[in-house]
Symmetry: C3
Subunit: 348 residues, 3 copies
């Protein structure tokens, strides 16, 4: 029997099956620095031990998107290696923050299976869960992928089941960190004078700071998450593949989008949920990423804490943006994501 | 009101104004390793916990130039984004070393403002200060920049004020680490048998180890410092810009120069001050950096500790050097810096 | 006297001389993360604090190959700078694991010197030892290098001495970690159901996951180890050199080979010894590395622990392999290494 791991094909998943993903991962100080080095984030909560204590955290929380990638990385061998496309994310809920020293594990439940009429592929729907060493849930999300079949043709008496995926996470499902001391929040620390009260629904923000991605950068970032999907790393194969080159892990674009959006959203200190996310076009080494956001909806949670639902678009090699309809994304739009952030209502 | 941060133009600075820079930064073990990975430094004081204790430090001090970059990175959004040129540094004094776990903050005072006769630009002079979480000064420096104006033309009744900048830091202003145990210093540890007594004023040293810079390397280093000046990261814009490509953060060249100079100056364990520094030409990905030093002046501080003033030049793509006059730097000289180091007088 | 370090030539070594290598190096959490980022390893013992405790380690041990590179990096200034070729390794024994916080030092003993008949070069044989801050041996190895002579011609009355190098490390010389709790080993953690009992002597494994190397990646990795051999970093010289470009540190290929081989050998948690290793061809930026292994020999050590001797080959830009005779390696084979690993006998 072959000892290497060829991963699963569509036929290898069963409805309601639970997959325990291997290779638990302890977060180190090195991970934090490499995340910084590959994204340039300036959100102070994640990089200042003093400030994170001041505002009510016992330890400096890990950037939410880094936690996501570390959980996602666990799932790759079981879910992504034979996937043709990552069709989307939905319902990402960030529960308990992760911290340096935490060990993350992941599992996924197969919640839907749909055969495609071409007989070559099927869609696999999963709910994935990332936990820390105490069994506490760090984050959960839904994801669906187009998966290769081992054998061409329709499967005899197969019943497709398409789950009802949430189109948005309810505000009541947001996990608000306890013991927040927002009276210690300061625009001097974040660098931005704009709080919940200063944003308007419908407002658009151009985040300005385009970043050009090098091959080494996305490879370093993606390996940090132990995401080993081959399309990101093997130019010898990919040069003859669909795009003629390596494809950048879509999650790296989410990281860049969040980091770049700090310029305009610096007080949005925490992501409560990602409602939906779509990598609408692939990204390659040499592409320059620009980012825009639109405030979709505002909601006050407490006297001093608000949440904003934001749509963020990332483009490649295009520094101008008219916010398009979701179904009418031009080719140079590479990411369309809707998420909700936490933000102090106003400066104390 | 636009939520993104467009930074300041010449007209936005007032004489004697104090600017508190945002985004305090906690130093991690990851930062130390990335600094090593992007420079190749071999100075043992900064990378050996045993040795740094042996010679009198409670903890391993952070490389002085890394501390400088972390402080400098804080100042970028308020000072560098609309700067056309970083005209120079002077009077950099390294006070208290920084350590892993320290949280650095920075502030700057506007000490001079000079309108240029072209009506398009002005020079802003600042004194910047970096402090740790206890309010102790880690380093201070003077810097002056050529800044764009928002509006062309001379400003009505504007009075230029050009400050007297120090041409050198006085030896009496050097902060000498307390409790040094130089009797434990060893050439076996540093790899060099050359101490204060072995160098001569006027002596020239070729540091030999040329290093070729890749785009990913300077971007990773510069993001580590959270320096977000756009010219370093955005090829989509810079390909049509002044040089047709991204420009490397000048401070990265200082780091390389210091790291490369270890081969010839391995016992110069600490930088006491940088008297002046000039990025005389820009550097780009693909350039190979070579470094030379000249001992300008020697001074004994105690029985077993000396200081040497050194002029260090870095060139690109040129492995031969005749030490030129300061005002006659050829195009391939990219850095001209004068600084003072601490060095044991002789092997115990 | 020139202050820079020009390293040694063949004539500068004496038989039985002990060389203490400089620049002790404290291992940090950052090193672990950069190692991950530059290799993509998925061996859980080295990256999960929980799992390493569960199976009997007090702290998470550092990847054996990273320890090797950190020790090797110490030796470079004294051994590699004027070497024309690293002819081989033998008898690498991994004694005590290294941990974050350990400070590694290295020394080498010259155990053989052979003049070559061309009068231009000689072979230097060393035994190198890496120790931690308590003087405990972390690893030892034999290595031989072809070294330039300062002066052409045969040395008068020179007696060559070629040492008897071990062709393999005896199993009785393996250091088995004490207090292993292999009853806690789990295929859920490693991701592989294959244990000692599942492999057959003669079995071949294709490790599948080709990785393309970027210039920045090998430079970052090699600087992390403070390996400053110029051929890896200076394109300004190497563009006119033997290959017309920078040469990748061979050790980086060993790291990639070990990391890639996790796909097929995930339960081989520790390298006990490297019997022999040969960089049969140079590797360059842009090359894609593929890896194959063959189980040479199996030996049960205790009821629940076995060892397997493995031959691993790495190729560049070639995804097909017929295991060749050792003396008949085609040009695209870049590494041929024989080593022994520890592996639980079967799932509890």
């Amino acid at each position: 029997m072959s000892k290497n791991f060829k991963s699963r094909y569509f036929e290898d998943y069963s409805l309601n099956e639970e997959i325990k993903h291997s290779v638990p991962r302890t977060i180190t100080e090195g991970d934090i620095s490499i995340y910084l080095s590959t994204t340039g984030s300036r959100f102070p909560l994640n990089y200042s031990a003093i400030f994170s204590k001041d505002v009510g955290f016992n330890k400096t929380p890990v950037d939410d998107i880094l936690s996501f990638h570390l959980v996602f990385g666990r799932t790759v061998p079981d879910l992504s290696l034979n996937a043709i496309a990552n069709l989307g994310y939905a319902g990402v809920i960030f529960n308990k923050p992760a911290y340096v020293g935490d060990t993350l594990t992941a599992s996924s439940k197969v919640i839907g299976l749909k055969e495609n009429s071409n007989g070559k592929t099927g869609t696999v729907y999963v709910k994935s869960i990332g936990k820390n060493q105490n069994g506490e849930i760090v984050l959960t999300y839904f994801r669906w992928l187009m998966m290769r079949k081992k054998k061409e043709g329709m499967i005899k008496s197969f019943k497709s089941f398409v789950p009802d995926l949430p189109t948005k996470v309810e505000t009541s499902d947001f996990m608000i960190p306890k013991n927040l001391k927002l009276e210690n929040w300061s625009s001097d620390v974040s660098g931005s004078p704009f709080f919940f009260d200063d944003y308007k629904e419908g407002e658009e923000i151009h985040h300005l700071d385009g970043q050009t991605i090098e091959e080494a950068e996305h490879q370093l970032a993606t390996r940090l998450y132990q995401n080993n999907a081959r399309v990101h790393f093997n130019n010898h194969i990919e040069k003859d593949g669909r795009f003629g080159k390596r494809i950048i892990y879509g999650g790296y674009i989410i990281s860049l989008a969040r980091a770049i959006s700090c310029n305009g959203l610096a007080n949005t200190f925490k992501i409560a949920a990602i409602h939906s996310g779509k990598h609408s076009s692939p990204t390659f080494s040499g592409d320059t990423i620009y980012v825009w956001s639109k405030i979709i909806k505002k909601e006050k949670l407490t006297n001093n804490l608000g949440t904003m639902m934001i749509r963020t678009l990332a483009s490649k090699n295009n520094s101008e943006m008219v916010f398009p309809d979701k179904k009418n994304l031009k080719e140079n739009i590479v990411l369309d994501i809707e998420y909700s952030v936490l933000i102090p209502v106003k400066e104390k």
